[in-house]
Symmetry: C2
Subunit: 267 residues, 2 copies
């Protein structure tokens, strides 16, 4: 349970956003505003944004698009009441010339009239659905960050963007993996069904015990690693595509919306 001493109502999405806005919340958002959609953010100048839109369209598994703003728009009513894109995320990454240059808690000061925001679905949504169904989510049970891996799977290049797929991994016994495939298939806007299971080498992962991001987790003898497209992919794409200027959320520090998780379910 979350300690009751938190200075904001951690189950109210708007309260969590306001806590991020006023600097009370600067850490990761996992477990906050449970049941509400959290999103990955990619913010680009309009000159690059149209290309990135085509890239998302071509690669919906890693880049499931929930919302795109008009250039310069900071308030996004489609995502939440009184939601300020430039202040309501606990930590932002600023990319310059294809490198993560800075991590900051507010981008209102560097906001530009040409910035377009892409809100992409996040695996927290399907993890919530898995847990509600009684399936274990190993990294949560072990109090770690989800293990993520670079792969050899090429993305479809579009609009000047390209790179390789990043995946997250959750281990399951076969019957649970089948159920997990069913459940996550209902959430195409939160990465949807897995992209692979079993032998990690087949998608270019040399060592399952050494994730490229996040933490390693226990995989039981009778368990199979199951791999989903991951929201870290677009951040890798910004680097691999050597994009001049971009803002993203900092991994794990998501934007919390007013959209209930179940609203993203196909059925």
């Amino acid at each position: 349970m979350t300690p009751t001493t938190l200075p904001y109502a951690e189950n109210d999405p708007r309260a969590v956003r306001l806590a991020a806005r006023d600097g009370t919340l600067v850490g990761p958002t996992a477990g906050l505003a449970k049941g509400y959609v959290q999103v990955n953010l990619v913010i680009l100048p309009e000159a690059q944004a149209n290309g990135f839109l085509r890239f998302c369209q071509a690669n919906p598994r890693p880049c499931p698009l929930l919302a795109v703003t008009e250039p310069g728009e900071r308030i996004c009513g489609a995502l939440g009441e009184d939601l300020d894109i430039a202040r309501d995320v606990p930590a932002y990454g600023i990319y310059r010339d294809g490198r993560l240059a800075e991590t900051v808690h507010d981008v209102a000061g560097i906001w530009r009239d040409d910035l377009v925001t892409f809100a992409l679905g996040c695996s927290f949504t399907f993890e919530h659905a898995l847990a509600l169904d009684g399936l274990p989510v190993r990294h949560i049970d072990e109090g770690r960050n989800v293990p993520m891996y670079n792969t050899s799977v090429p993305l479809i290049p579009a609009g000047g963007f390209g790179g390789r797929l990043v995946v997250s991994m959750r281990p399951y016994r076969a019957a649970d993996a089948i159920r997990a495939i069913q459940i996550t298939s209902r959430y195409p806007q939160a990465h949807g069904a897995p992209v692979h299971f079993g032998d990690p080498a087949l998608i270019g992962i040399p060592d399952i015990g050494t994730p490229d991001y996040g933490d390693a987790v226990t995989i039981g003898e009778d368990e199979i690693p199951v791999f989903w497209a991951c929201g870290v992919t677009p951040q890798q794409v910004l680097v691999e595509s050597a994009i001049e200027f971009a803002i993203t959320h900092s991994p794990g520090h998501m934007l919390i919306t007013d959209i209930p998780d179940s609203r993203l379910a196909l059925l």
Copy 2:
């Protein structure tokens, strides 16, 4: 393509039933009346039928119930026009005291007023859906019968019936297996999603190369065996439960209905 010399319209479900009825068709029904639901049959005296109904209810994956008749009823309009349960199946098995005693082409002569018919969905329905989606179905591609295996997975005993699950197996690469899980999940009345994939030993199959029924098929290096609950299960259950009298279809010789396969899709 089917040769045009067939003495009946092989794409018309009623014509195929009539061919079985008049003795023109005595062989397996795979590939006939494509796109129409074929069903497994279990026919029991009313004294055992209520128990079997509870057994099906408790074990929907191997025994997905499409229709149950009133005692003595031979014509079943719910399944097809002018459909005669006792004559329209190319081959029947007659079980006495828990043993397959006889295989015949007509059971009209031994029909009884107390016989209740259970029509159970069949994997032909989801194989049709897999093929329409462009997924390979190995045993069809290799011109063989699907490989089937006894397992150590106990069924839920009910109504005096019990036993162990029989599964069918189709090999797939991981990405295709994920898609096959999605597709077959839409057909719970045709066995639905797989029950297992990967290591056959985990469900008590000692040698994947030696099926208990049907034929072995090629499994590629990068392929995983995927296992579905199988309609042969109830026939094994009749044996294991030492049922005094029962009639079934003979494996592969199904009853063809007028129900389009897509009518069984959840969505």
